[in-house]
Symmetry: C2
Subunit: 265 residues, 2 copies
Amino acid sequence: MLKTLDTRISSLAKSEVDIRLEPLEKNPKAKPKSISEGPCATCSAHNQAICSGLKDHEMAEFARNIRTRLVKTGQSVYREFEEAKYVYSVVSGEIRLANLLDDGRRQITSFKSAGEVIGEQKKGYYQSDAEAVCDTVVCQIPIKALDKYHKEMPSIQSALSEKVLDELHELRHHAILLGRKTPIEKIATFLVDRARKIGDDTGNKVEVKLTMGRNDIADFLGLTIETVSRTITKLRKMGVLDVPSNHLILIKDLEWLENLAEGEK
Amino acid sequence: MLKTLDTRISSLAKSEVDIRLEPLEKNPKAKPKSISEGPCATCSAHNQAICSGLKDHEMAEFARNIRTRLVKTGQSVYREFEEAKYVYSVVSGEIRLANLLDDGRRQITSFKSAGEVIGEQKKGYYQSDAEAVCDTVVCQIPIKALDKYHKEMPSIQSALSEKVLDELHELRHHAILLGRKTPIEKIATFLVDRARKIGDDTGNKVEVKLTMGRNDIADFLGLTIETVSRTITKLRKMGVLDVPSNHLILIKDLEWLENLAEGEK
DNA sequence: CGCTGAATTGATAGAATTCAAGTTCTGTGG
DNA sequence: CCACAGAACTTGAATTCTATCAATTCAGCG
């Protein structure tokens, strides 16, 4: 296991360009008196993030410890077996969590977008690879700081627990999908979930923007890229949806798609 | 969703016989002064359970709130969508956690044995069906009591968090298995995991006792019962293992099986 | 000793993967 | 703005698996 880790880390060292957006002030030791001076001031994900329950003075303390970081498309935030020093809150963009088999087969277990937390660890090591599906901004929170918050800001702790339980719930449902659903049901479920997540709703029609490519969808649903393609085509010919462009799906009959997702005929 | 719940609960009402092992003393209000009088006194799972870190006086308090409950083969401890009032620690036997699709397809997400915790909830409702694979004893812990312990017995809280993280880790790996592994890899992984769990180890040979039937294995691995059977037969003919009886697998070459589990030819 | 449910085995059909083109999309540079 | 190259996606044909359906064997039990 460790050998595998070493091998993978070294083989990735070249591409591992670490781009960080440091806080605005010149001198990083000049602690901001309020969040209006730090990256939290303009955080678009604040409402959905684990810091949403914090009071003003707590928020200031929180802001002192975090850094935002831009992760460009395809770059990794962290890798499986790497020592876990941070958890991350996704600010914008999208992250894929993936696990690999030795021969390269890949399973994506989750896509995480604004407000969601990544960085779950086991015994101090990350459990998955976390990579940016598209240009993504994450908020980097030192685990040490979290330990401190544990007593001072219980809302952080409970928000985190909540996120972990959400993830469990999500994974359970993904297990049914992977183990028991047909390709049509898988694609339908995936699109319905996206539609609900984005919620760009107009009655029974929904426009779903896909940040990820067919390959990621395939590795998420346990299919090949060809089957993903064929299945989307099939749904298009059935009249359930349209595909204006590769990264855009127009669901024409959401209810129908929901039924397909649950395997009704 | 609620309709589904009602339907399922009523259809199961008949078989839902709730067998409880009340504490030994006649009067349940007579609180035991020490655990020597309660069910915790003889608990065989104590070392692995969430209560293992408790001090004597904490243990006494803990013991006051719990009840043990015998769940016979096939009976359920709780069901998906049911209001979550307890978490359970498995004392002996084995529990399967399962989720169903409307048409009856089933995915088992986990088998839980002594020391493990079940009862994860989302917004107050259980996330899965929990059923006894064989005659099983569980320790029933009111969630209300847990909330109280939160402050008084932090070791419980941290042990619980640990269990939840373990479950996440387990589910992630199960996702790879379901989405990307072949039947042989699935069966091999399953048996290797069992071998590690039970650890009845004698060098490269291990005897694995299976509490569950082929159907449960199939629904756990996302296969049909026939494929499970054929795959085990194939492994037997390859010389990797023997099958002395339906519920017993003798792994003759654990290393080989481990390689098969990871997909090495 | 026969009964019942579980497991295995066999034959077949269906479905998804694989392999192989072909097509469309996207971003870049002229 | 267009042409071009590479990547991403779609489509087609063949193959390989796995699920399905059906029959048989096996094991535990009254």
